[in-house]
Amino acid sequence: MIADELTRSLSPATSRVMRVWQAREQRSGWRAVRAAMMLVFGLAAVPLMLSGCISVTAPDKPIVIELNINIKQEIVYRLSADAANTIDKNPEIF
């Protein structure tokens, strides 16, 4: 009787050496270490690349912070007549 087995399972298309390396990588976490090293070198490279093109210089004048910088002259001009009227109408508090 001939066995009615038409096909048989093939061995995976990897060599014994590759399987050994795969097994070793899975065990050792070598991929994670490699990824971390790439990240570290990548980050270290950023300032090196930037240092070539950006220069920061300190201002030669002192920085002045004006308290009422948000009040604009045009608004003051617009309100001026109204304000004068308010003062005239309420002399007891001015």
Binding site: N68, I71, I75, L79, S80, A83, T86, I93
Partner: protein, 132 residues
């Protein structure tokens, strides 16, 4: 009842004068509190750039209460008027402050553009560059 035209014009004028006198007297009553006026004249209290009163010298309890009361009333008025004018309270108060500094009398104190207290002389006061 008589029609308005039947009244003696002289009597009408007299009545008008009486009403006017009362109005003037009413305005006079609404003038500055004497203690506040004295504190201003003495340079204890000055007009600040922001539209409120400030203490030039450390105030006594009565002056402090007086000034705080006036500043609260000013703030209420500024916020009402600012809303009507479509501006912020700070903008309206600052604009009023410009006017109030301009209206100070010689001898009174006001806050100069640099932030320190200055004494008003007969010359125009030193004001913020944004003041009209």
């Amino acid at each position: 009842m008589r029609a308005f035209a039947d009244y003696n014009p002289r009597k009408l004028m007299f009545a008008a004068a009486a009403v006017l006198t009362l109005a003037v007297a009413g305005t006079a009553l609404a003038q500055r509190d004497p203690a506040y006026a004295a504190a201003r004249a003495a340079g204890q209290v000055g007009e600040k750039m922001d539209g409120y009163l400030g203490y030039v010298t450390p105030p006594g309890g009565d002056i402090r209460a007086l000034v705080e009361d006036l500043n609260i009333k000013r703030r209420a008025l500024y916020s009402e008027k600012a809303q009507a004018a479509g501006a912020t309270v700070e903008e309206y108060a600052f604009t009023t402050g410009c006017r109030l500094i301009a209206q100070t009398s010689p001898g009174e104190k006001y806050e100069g553009p640099g932030g320190g207290w200055l004494t008003r002389t007969s010359a125009p006061p030193q004001r913020d560059s944004r003041c009209p």
